[in-house]
Symmetry: C2
Subunit: 189 residues, 2 copies
């Protein structure tokens, strides 16, 4: 009777992989149990329930994405930092669509506050520092960046740009340029 050595961490990671393969909303306790060749109830020693699993995957993905973005942005400023931020975001979503979808899971306030979501907001603010925005413009700008990036990536993943020219990459670059232009205009410096 070999024990597969289940842990919340291994289950979360496997859940993230599963999400990328079949979609975040197809991640079920059952599918995960099959993947470990284990009976379903065995997972309930490690997970409170299926929502707990989803939350763990979301937190995992938020952290992973934040780390990537931090890495991409390091040592850059201004337009350069903005583009690196944007690309890190888009690339992650394209590489890991299921994990990206997981980051959109609605978390309760407490969980959200303890998550890497906080880091995301801080990094966005850090990039905007280069543009010299005062409050409340900085907050507006953070929200605008979040909206554009999330919106674009989510439309692209949904296949919205597949059947028309120009390619999704050109539009992405055009949009990042536009954001840079707008932020420079809004600057008080």
């Amino acid at each position: 009777m070999d024990r597969p050595g289940l842990t919340p961490e291994r289950l979360t990671r496997a859940g993230a992989e599963l999400a990328d393969e079949v979609g975040f909303d197809q991640v079920t306790v059952s599918a995960l149990a099959r993947r470990f060749d284990v009976k379903v109830p065995s997972l309930y020693s490690h997970l409170k329930n299926s929502q707990d699993l989803r939350i763990r995957i979301a937190l995992f993905a938020l952290k992973e994405l934040a780390d990537r973005v931090a890495d991409a942005v390091a040592g850059r400023a201004g337009r350069d930092a903005l583009a690196a931020f944007a690309d890190a975001y888009r690339d992650y979503a394209r590489e890991h669509p299921g994990r990206y979808a997981a980051t959109r899971l609605r978390l309760d306030r407490e969980t959200a506050a303890a998550s890497a979501g906080v880091q995301h907001a801080q990094m966005a603010r850090a990039i905007l520092r280069g543009y010299g925005l005062d409050e409340p413009d900085a907050t507006h700008a953070v929200r605008m960046l979040g909206s554009v990036f999330h919106g674009y990536v989510s439309l692209e993943l949904a296949g919205g740009f597949e059947h028309s020219a120009p390619g999704a990459l050109e539009s992405w670059e055009w949009i990042v340029d536009s954001l840079d232009a707008v932020l420079r205009t809004r600057s008080t410096r």
Copy 2:
């Protein structure tokens, strides 16, 4: 034995209402059957399956939203039209979160081509006509507007702006202003 008079149309409309009440992903054939006080299999005479129901709700919502936007934009141009478009979009999502979520359902190419999604794209292009953009800028701009609006609304509905100042409306207006500014800059006129 009273017959409730089920039809695909009534089921779709009730499904849309249900979506607004409990969330689009909580719309199930079972819940809909309960709402009509009917056994679940009875619905299968009117719906192919649960995905068919979701698609019908999506198409219904796309059309309803397109009609609203068309109405809001009628007789306006430039910044005015842009703001009307934007507000119609956001207001619909706030009033009908479930239906709005339904509009994000991924449709196969054929279904999408026959849907009111086409109208949405045309209206966005119509608004951009006022800004005098040549291709491919016009397409980039359509994608940018779609991204921002969808992204913002989806973050707002997810509660992302609830626990921080300034209010979601101010940011919305700031963003619409910014879009207007960028589009004027991009104009070839």
